[in-house]
Symmetry: C2
Subunit: 138 residues, 2 copies
DNA sequence: ATAATCCCTATAAATTTTATAGAGTTTGTG
DNA sequence: CACAAACTCTATAAAATTTATAGGGATTAT
């Protein structure tokens, strides 16, 4: 399951995607719309901005806005950013690799081999769904 | 990512699958082989037994053994049993459904729609991989 | 000058995961 | 029959992670 952080990020991105005609959107508006804590959401939007998905404007009249095309924001990226690895085990993670302590020899571990396949197939799914697909469903 | 519980369960099932000629296997042997806490693993094996994957024999000379064919133990089942939902959001879970608080109308929520698709495709992957596939890779 | 707004970091609270403990119960064996 | 070896079951503790809050700082429009 996705963490609330990631879920909230998806809601925020969706909201911003639906309000692209506006110059900026207030954190507060997104938070109220979905009943999310303002402060919690603030941290999430900050991460999304640092990762290059959002732009922001400070001061009065400021707020956030999308700076990428929705079609260029795949689910895989958002999940990785906020939740970490997509792989089911650390020993098969492309971006967060770590050996598994209980496995003596990764190369001849059947679990590892199967999980590499699961990872590749899962990745295909998540790379092919983008914010655009979410917006299309609203 | 899978919890350690699920990961340990997979190691235990694999071990039991590799020792099907033995009548029973000791918890202790599996725990030692993979450096897992005996007591922690005990609870996991208990769950696997209650769910119908393992049989056990008490008393001296006792232990655990597989009672299903490895090909009839799909990853999806093991993950659901020990980790819970496979869906990425509660609102699209088949076995652990719960509405999402921040979504006013599930039916017209784009996130929901996309996540239903992700769930279905992910399920296809995990239902098609079984303990047998793991054993084949050892 | 002021109020609105994002920026940043620290910390607290809640929840979940991981691990341990220990008293049952059953069974094979001498 | 006594005893030791194993699983059974439930409770609790410890650790880690997630979720939420707090508050001072910096920037900007008016």
């Amino acid at each position: 399951m996705l963490s609330k952080k990631t879920k909230y990020a998806l809601h925020a991105l969706t909201y911003l995607g639906k309000h692209r005609e506006n110059k900026t959107v207030l954190i507060q508006d997104i938070a109220e719309e979905h009943g999310i804590s303002h402060k919690f959401l603030e941290n999430i939007l900050l991460e999304l901005r640092k990762a290059g998905y959002l732009g922001s404007k400070k001061g009065k009249g400021g707020g956030y806005y999308l700076i990428k095309e929705p079609k260029d924001i795949p689910l895989s990226r958002i999940i990785r950013l906020l939740d970490g690895p997509i792989a089911l085990l650390p020993c098969v993670s492309l971006n967060y690799y770590e050996p598994c302590a209980e496995c003596k020899n990764e190369v001849q571990c059947g679990i590892n081999k199967v999980m590499v396949q699961v990872r590749d197939e899962t990745l295909k799914i998540l790379e092919n769904k983008s914010l655009q697909d979410i917006l299309d469903g609203e």
